[in-house]
């Protein structure tokens, strides 16, 4: 494998975690709920997947278990933020700290050991024979294809080409208008917050069964927070999240490459790169002229919905 090919391959592999987590966060934010618990969901999903494959030796089973746990935790989060209308910021931080702590405790027996079963690369016929790009992009595991192709395509169609998607976007913009139009605002918010959490937990399974692949305390390394930033950077668009995740993956992969080839850059600086990139990506668009209205946050993001308010 050429250097470029391995760089791109690593970029896609590490970007997939962010792409998945970002798409999950996108669903919650599009219906107006800010979920800051992605980091905790990643950890819970990751440890669930590791524990499941240790018993069952099937990566798909591990992924499904992570999705199930993510959905259950998402329902709890939605019950607090959508039904009880608790502060979304506080609940999100609680989910992050609680999720990280719970995952660290549950994951102790598996820490440091390689995953008992991992996702194996699948070759896409013909495309995998392309020079450079073939081995980099089309010799990847199933979650990577889902993260970069299936999910962005599905969400793009859902949000911008269906009646249901119109309703979802409107709920994030103006829930009172939706309520007046007879749309079940609370039920839909609940469902999509839970679904988003399930996808974020699946990103955790991708992290421990395909990317790393093992469990250790702190393996999420702030990726959940980067995913939250990525959604804003991408202007709440599924495709742009995929592209942004690839860019972040590329920064990450550059760090690995520099370390492997010994380019003489301090390793601490290299591991800092993704976080520096996050700050840069957040600051640059804000500095450049004005942000276009199409890329601004849903107007009702973070606000609990009360029917009685005028």
């Amino acid at each position: 494998m050429s250097m470029l090919s391995s760089l791109l391959g690593n970029a896609v592999l590490s970007g997939a975690v962010l792409a998945l987590a970002g798409q999950g966060e996108l669903l919650a934010e599009r219906v107006g709920v800010l979920n800051l618990g992605v980091e905790g969901l990643l950890a819970l999903g990751g440890v669930t997947a590791i524990a499941t494959v240790a018993a069952g030796h099937d990566p798909l089973l591990g992924l499904l278990a992570a999705v199930g746990v993510g959905a259950a935790v998402g329902c709890l989060f939605a019950a607090a933020t959508v039904l009880a209308r608790a502060s979304q910021v506080l609940c999100g931080i609680a989910l992050t700290t609680g999720g990280l702590g719970l995952a660290a405790t549950l994951g102790r027996p598996y820490a440091g050991q390689p995953a008992a079963a991992t996702f194996q690369p699948i070759d896409i016929p013909l495309l995998d024979r392309l020079p450079v790009l073939g081995p980099a992009l089309f010799h990847q595991s199933a979650p990577v294809y889902v993260a970069f192709l299936v999910l962005p395509l599905a969400l793009q169609l859902l949000l911008f080409h269906t009646r249901h998607g119109l309703v979802l976007r409107a709920i994030g913009e103006n829930p009172a208008a939706c309520d007046a139009a007879g749309i079940p605002v609370v039920a839909l918010r609940f469902a999509y917050v839970a679904l988003g959490a399930a996808i974020a937990a699946a990103a955790g399974a991708d992290l421990t069964l395909a990317f790393v692949p093992s469990w250790s305390d702190g393996v999420t390394a702030g990726r959940g927070w980067i995913a939250v930033a990525l959604v804003i950077f991408a202007g709440y668009r599924p495709w742009r999240i995929a592209v942004g995740a690839f860019l972040f993956g590329l920064v990450n992969a550059l760090g690995y490459l520099a370390q492997a080839r010994d380019w003489g850059v301090a390793p601490a600086f290299l591991s800092m790169l993704p976080y520096l990139a996050t700050i840069l990506f957040m600051v640059l668009p804000a500095l450049s002229a004005r942000s276009r209205p199409a890329t601004t946050a849903p107007a009702a993001l973070g606000l609990p919905y009360y029917r009685d308010q005028r």
Binding site: F160, L166, N174, C178, A180, A181, R310
Partner: protein
């Protein structure tokens, strides 16, 4: 709280039925019951003779009831087409922008309502947004159309368009319920009129036999009607000039001209009317007069002294009160309490301010006085001001600004959303201010109001003063021509 108490309302096919009443008479509550947002504690709703249970907005739509609210229920960030199709069972499953825009264009043609399907709602004027709301309701097959103060936000030309659309709708055998405070308008378009007072329907009559005064009596009830405003003598030509603009020009951030060479003098003891179709620079003018907007060119003079760097605080401390056109966004902090909003102009001066501190008891006392002066029946001044009705918000702002206006009161559309009684009270207060030697700037779209209350009328067109004439003996037709730029 009891908002509706044994209300009877009968609606015939092919009629426009006006609903009148003071702010808080229970009109909005009644309409919320009809559209399923509230459930009645007693009584029933029958459509075509059959009793129907309306347990939500969707049920109301199925029953053929459509409502256009005073505050539009649109999603500003989305397009007209998306808003029309939101929450509609007939929206196709595949709803890409192209599909929705094509459907919207054909709906607009069918109902004769001109809208731009691909435009973002946030970019539309109030009249255009209202057309989108109406189109949305009509597309769902409404046979009963309820409009809550539909003309409050419209320019006169837009009102004519709206009334034409309503007459067309009535002509197809449908019914319209029109909630309004403007008696002239109601007499012009309604077939029958129901008056509500204190949560009850007190009378229903044919519009043909009614007059402004008979309606006003029904609305106010037994309480004595407020004394008619006594126009003052106006200001003599040598009265001191309190506030003056000299060749003022202003542009917005995009470089579009708002004001262009405006020169105006506000004299002590006069009411200066500003006529003009909305959007011809009224907002910028009221902001320049109150220090909220720094002109790009020209001078602003306070009692003959040029203000070097105008800012709202200097002007407020100099005794210039401001009733802005967008009360909820510019005049009030919606989530703060009624009391806090009431003292918003006076918190920084004694007796409320004490050095760096704030005396909550003094603030409460001032707030109570303002709430009383506004004639508000607010049991708990701690409720957020957004929970007040639009009319009551307006009363609060007017009372607050009257207190600080020791020199000039600048009032942009101050009667919007007010009932007859409150309008009379406000006009009387303006005349009182003028009699005390203040200047009043009254910005309005209603020529009747200006001709009756102003001493001089300046006509604003495209950011310029198109004409300035004494109100006494002014010819409405000439004013109308000036307003349209001729």
């Amino acid at each position: 709280m009891l908002a509706n108490d044994g209300v009877d309302l009968a609606l015939m096919p092919g009629e426009i039925h006006a609903l009148l009443g003071e702010n808080g008479a229970g009109k909005s509550t009644l309409m919320n019951v009809l559209t399923g947002l509230y459930q009645p504690d007693a009584g029933s709703i029958a459509i075509d003779g059959q009793v129907r249970r309306i347990d939500g907005p969707a049920a109301a739509a199925r029953a053929g009831i459509g409502m256009v609210h005073q505050h539009f229920r649109l999603v500003p960030a989305q397009t007209v087409a998306e808003n029309v199709h939101l929450g509609w069972s007939e929206t196709p499953w595949r709803a890409s922008a192209r599909v929705l825009e094509a459907r919207t264009a054909s709906l607009a043609a069918r109902f004769g309502l001109a809208v731009a399907p691909a435009a973002r709602v946030a970019d539309l004027s109030a009249g255009e947004q209202q057309r989108v709301e109406i189109l949305r309701v009509l597309a769902r097959g409404a046979r009963i159309l309820i409009l809550d103060e539909p003309t409050a936000v419209l320019a006169p030309a837009e009102v004519a368009t709206l009334f034409a659309a309503l007459r067309g709708f009535r002509g197809r055998g449908n019914a319209v319920v029109l909630i309004s405070h403007k008696l002239g308008e109601v007499l012009e378009i309604a077939d029958r009129i129901t008056v509500m007072r204190a949560g009850r329907s007190v009378a229903t009559c044919a519009a043909a036999g009614a007059s402004r005064s008979s309606l006003a009596r029904l609305i106010v009830g037994d309480t004595a009607p407020p004394p008619p405003a006594k126009p003052g003598a106006g200001a003599p030509d040598d009265a001191p000039v309190l506030l003056e603009l000299r060749d003022v020009g202003a542009r917005d951030r995009r470089g579009i001209t708002l004001l262009d060479g405006v020169s105006l003098r506000v004299r002590a003891g006069e009411i200066l009317g500003i006529a003009g179709v909305a959007g011809n620079g009224q907002r910028a003018l009221s902001e320049v007069l109150t220090g909220c907007l720094r002109p790009d060119r020209g001078q602003v003079l306070l009692e003959g002294t040029v203000v070097a760097r105008p800012d709202p605080r200097t002007f407020a401390e100099a005794g210039i009160g401001h009733i802005p056109e967008d009360r909820l966004r510019t005049a009030l902090a919606p989530d703060l309490s009624v009391a806090e909003n009431a003292v918003l102009r006076e918190y920084a001066r004694p007796p409320i301010a004490r050095g760096f501190g704030l005396d909550p008891r003094a603030a409460g006392a001032v707030a109570r006085r303002i709430v009383e002066a506004a004639g508000l029946d607010v049991r708990d001044p701690r409720v957020p001001v957004r929970n007040l009705s639009g009319g009551n918000q307006q009363r609060l702002v007017a009372a607050r600004e009257r207190r600080i206006a020791s020199r000039v009161l600048v009032a942009a559309y101050p009667t919007r959303g007010l009932d007859v009684g409150a309008v009379a009270t406000l006009h009387a207060a303006m005349h009182r201010l003028a009699a005390e030697g203040c200047g009043v700037v009254l910005i309005s779209e209603e020529l009747d109001e200006l001709l009756e209350h102003a001493d001089r009328i300046a006509v604003l067109f495209a950011g310029r003063i198109a004409g300035l004439l004494p109100a006494a003996g002014a010819d409405p037709e000439r004013l109308g021509l000036l307003m349209s730029g001729q």
